[in-house]
Amino acid sequence: MNTIFLEFAVVGLGIVLLLAEAFVDRTNKDYLAYLGSAGLFVILLLSFLPIQGPAPGSSDAAFITSDILSVFFTRFLLITTIIVLLMAPGFKPVLARYLPAEREGAGVGEFTILPLFVCAGLMWMVSSIDFIMIFVALELATITLYVLSTYLRQNNASLEAGTKFLILGALSTGFFVYGITWIFGVTGTTNITALPHAISLLPESSILPLLLGIALILVSLSFKIGAFPFQFWVPDVYQGAPTPVSAYLSVASKAAGFVVLLRLLLALETVPVVAHKLYAVITLLAGVTLIFGNLAAIPQTNLKRLLGYSSVAHAGYLLMGVASLGSLMAIPAIGLYFAAYLAMTLLSFVVLMVVAEATGGDEISRFNGLSQRSPLLAGAMLLAMASLAGIPFTAGFVGKFMIFEVALKQGHFGLVAIGCVTVAAGFYYYFKVARAMYWQQPTEETAIPVSMTVRILIAVLGAGILAIGIYPGPILAALR
């Protein structure tokens, strides 16, 4: 099967659901979420059929590839989207509160459907090998995400988050475009796979402009993945955006950014003059990102914001892996880390969403005594936090283990040392949540109701964390 079919299937699903939303007269829009995730699930299953890239020589072949990286992350994005879609029904009350709706359920449908387009964009992004395609796919995802972040338009935080995301995102787009321009100007191509050859033909003097282009691309990718000093939007947007959108941002859009970064690096690896400069810079980025993300997270009191900082921190660990690309295991390690990251981050966002709805806020103090109000939610959150902190037998641990392994193998001793300090910091801020849930007394004793969808989500994600933590083999194998 042609890989392009998958993306178009997602787009088609989105259009079908849009039509359904428009023409089916139901106030309860939950069915859209279930339909959407069921459709995505089917697409996910389809992705396990034998997949070829576009036929060589066809026009698409210049843009799209179906290597293991793209296949892996396509599935990754599909799974993320399924879970985010399933979060939507739980988020209905918040939407109802902050949308100027004429009748019940207004706006819920679009909120459920737009992620599908984001998904399609990100899927294109992870399989494209051409800057132009990447640009278009990236903008498809990003612009839709601007909308989703601002979705609660009567909520100041959401508006603020959307505005910040918009301005900074557009700024980053500017740099991206400018970077493509320079690379194109120097090499005459926008195709990543063609880059090494094109560079090899370049005279010595043209390296500087090329490097400028690469630096600008790196800027915008750093923005996308939330690496210091381009991470500033991350905590603010995560805190303000609707919870499922924050979850989506932190998992899917970060992953897509990393895939592009990986592709660029893998292509340039054969060009030593560029590659070693890039590695040096990425090593540095990894170090400062680790420090900023982890240390600045320490004093946080708002869980959503904390997860934003944590997302920056994990970008740091992932960058550690990227900086170690020289090792054969680096890409499997990064993939594993992402798989882990998906499970643990989404699980914490799911629990956060339920608890925030039940207690009226997403500060850590709202979690006080959660273990007495809902042992299930508390246990799930504890598992997620343990995994984020990197406790063995959870996915987060094997992820960190592999990352540290490849980093050590590549001799990044400084990064590893920073990693140790920041892991300790991580223990502190993740365990702050555990403390609230288990040590503190709840302000009210009533049990928190948990819907069946959420229960299933928790069960699946929790099982995922443990499964990856105990038996990570298949995921590593998928990327080798």
Binding site: S59, P100, R103, L114, V136, I143, T144, V186, S205
Partner: protein, 167 residues
């Protein structure tokens, strides 16, 4: 001739670009921006990118600028309140811009390739519009389709965001 047009339009572009971000009245800004974009279109055309130049005028100077002006009017934005000038920020911003420009200049001047004169177009220069069309619909079919999705998604988004009440 080309040199003169280069100097004229580029000066115009830069000057109006600068006024667009320096003036206090949003409407003046928007108008300056429109002039900036139009002169940019002229630059495009002088570089033999006729279609793009025309699109630039249509889409940018036309649609986009109208949208800007429309919003400025809609929101009734007046003169930016003359808040206290943040000296530190201005200085910092200026420094960043200066550094950026200096590095850019260094890069541009470092490559002798960039100093070469304008090469002549082949005698049988194909039709600009036709070639872009060919490229776009033949080679770039996939991005083009993706852009279609982008526009759809943006449309939905804009509707959701700007309807007074949702149905």
């Amino acid at each position: 001739m080309l040199l003169a047009s280069y100097w004229f339009f580029s000066t115009l572009t830069i000057a109006f670009g600068a006024t667009a971000i320096l003036l206090r009245n949003p409407v003046s800004c928007a108008m300056s921006l429109a002039v900036c974009f139009i002169s940019l279109a002229a630059l495009f055309i002088s570089l033999d990118a006729t279609l793009i130049g025309i699109m630039q005028i249509l889409v940018y100077a036309g649609a986009v600028m109208v949208l800007f002006l429309f919003i400025i009017m809609l929101l009734d934005l007046r003169m930016e309140k003359s808040r206290r000038l943040n000296f530190g920020a201005t200085l910092g911003g200026g420094l960043v811009i200066a550094a950026f420009l200096s590095m850019l200049t260094k890069v541009i001047l470092s490559d002798p390739e960039f100093a070469k004169p304008l090469p002549p177009l082949a005698a049988s220069a194909p039709d600009n519009v036709r070639m872009i069309g060919m490229t776009l619909f033949h080679s770039y079919a996939l991005p083009f389709e993706a852009i279609g999705v982008l526009l759809l998604s943006a449309t939905v988004g804009v509707i959701v965001l700007s309807r007074r009440t949702l149905r």
